[in-house]
């Protein structure tokens, strides 16, 4: 007999009927992406943790209003992102997103990606430096789309903008990133 994991729709149906373990499974499935999305928005791991936790609790309360057949992940991320943005708004400030590259740390014995997929250290340093010079808004747009690989709909939820403006925000952010990279390139070519 096929032992496949339950679909999101099955878990939602069970959770709506009061099956606590089904909702716990949903949280486990999406806690990493929800937490990282909140982290990109708040810039703080502590705020992201609170926002993600509160978001999941609120989503549970609202499960009865979740449209059957709709994708679950963007819906959850919208609620968590709202929580995260509320925190930033009420605090009146946000911490700058500290982007660092993981050191040789592969905790669960994961196979390292093939060499071709890795950036060389110079490229990596250049990119990080250029990203650090961008505005927080541009950095968030890039982080959502390329680092977290959120869909357009999810990016819109995370960035708090209309779906139609995600593309233009991203292309402006990329253009500014290129501008930041140019001087470094020219210097290294010289």
């Amino acid at each position: 007999m096929e032992d496949r994991p339950p679909s999101d729709a099955e878990l939602v149906t069970r959770a709506t009927r009061g099956d606590a373990s089904a909702y716990e499974e949903i949280v486990r499935r999406y806690e990493t992406i929800a937490f990282r999305t909140a982290w990109v928005i708040t810039g703080s791991a502590a705020d992201a943790e609170e926002a993600a936790q509160d978001g999941f609790v609120k989503a549970h309360r609202a499960l009865g209003r979740f449209r059957e057949g709709a994708p679950l992940r963007p819906w959850l991320l919208t609620i968590v992102a709202n929580e995260a943005r509320n925190r930033v708004r009420s605090a009146g400030r946000r911490e700058a997103l500290a982007l660092r590259v993981a050191e040789e740390r592969r905790p669960d014995g994961a196979v390292p990606p093939p060499e071709a997929a890795l950036l060389d250290s110079e490229q990596r340093a250049e990119l990080l430096a250029a990203l650090a010079r961008l505005s927080e808004i541009d950095r968030q747009a890039i982080a959502c789309r390329y680092f977290l690989e959120l869909s357009e709909e999810e990016c819109a939820a995370a960035l708090g903008c209309a779906r139609g403006t995600v593309k233009s925000r991203l292309s402006r952010a990329l253009a500014r990133l290129r501008e930041q990279l140019e001087p470094a390139r020219e210097a290294s070519d010289a």
Partner: protein, 255 residues
């Protein structure tokens, strides 16, 4: 330049993200602690009105009964707002002794927003508050204290003319509770289009439930006339020896 986008995607795979906390068990615990509140609030939000439930009240009011040990009288009526419940019972609990107010930490009003997940609402009608307090609960709770002034006589126990409390009702379902008796006037109304409950006359009691849904041991406190109202996600509570018109006037001046 697709090359740049590819590089960013690869960089994303190499970033050192803060470790994801174990949210699932904590969310599960919070969800398990609040099923009654969640169901109640959903229904309230859905109808956008004050639900009056006359059936199965004892079940709904279980938390309140346990919060007031020894009080096991029949609940005659149960009303709710986002963040607050109001019950009418056959018999009131015994009168508690005079209690000092525990409002949290006193802060300058200008500093209060730093401790709150909402914009504080300050009523313009009574003039500037004499003191502001914040309490650490999810989203924070703000209390504004006004000494006696015209139209707001001092309370016998505390000397306070008006007490305004605010918190995020959506984050703290059923956080505050009121228990009234058969002669207490409990009235549903709307203030600027938002639902509100007016509680007047005859002794009635006030208590908190702890934010995680577990029961707070804080004893009941005898309350004066109270207007509870929703302002978006914020539940505002006005308590003073005022009449309904004055209470609504103050509520309308919340900015």
């Amino acid at each position: 330049m697709p090359e740049l986008e590819g590089m960013l995607t690869r960089l994303g795979g190499e970033l050192d993200y803060p470790p994801t906390p174990e949210l699932a068990p904590r969310v599960a615990a919070r969800v398990a602690a609040e099923p009654r509140g969640a169901r109640l609030r959903d229904r309230l939000a859905w109808r956008r009105s004050l639900a009056v439930a006359l059936v199965a009240l004892l079940l709904l009011a279980g938390a309140a009964l346990a919060a007031a040990p020894g009080v096991r009288d029949a609940v005659l009526e149960f009303l709710g707002l986002q963040g607050a419940t109001v019950e009418r019972r056959e018999q009131l609990p015994r009168l508690p002794g005079t209690r000092t107010l525990d409002l949290g930490r006193q802060v300058p009003l200008a500093d209060a927003p730093r401790a709150l997940a909402f914009e504080p609402l300050v009523p313009a009608a009574p003039g500037r508050p004499d003191a502001a307090y914040v309490r650490r609960v999810p989203g924070g709770e703000l209390s504004l204290v006004y000494r006696r002034r015209p139209g707001l006589p001092p309370a016998a126990a505390t000397g306070i003319g008006l007490l305004v409390s605010e918190f995020r009702g959506d984050l703290l379902p059923e956080y505050v509770g009121k228990i009234g008796g058969q002669t207490t006037r409990i009235e549903q109304l709307t203030v600027d289009g938002e639902p509100a409950i007016w509680i007047e006359g005859a002794p009635h009691f006030f208590f908190y439930r702890s934010p995680d849904g577990a029961l707070e041991e804080r004893p009941l406190r005898l309350a004066r006339n109270v207007l509870l109202l929703e302002r978006g996600d914020v539940l505002v509570r006005l308590e003073a020896d005022f009449d309904r018109e004055r209470a609504v006037e103050i509520a309308r001046s919340l900015r």
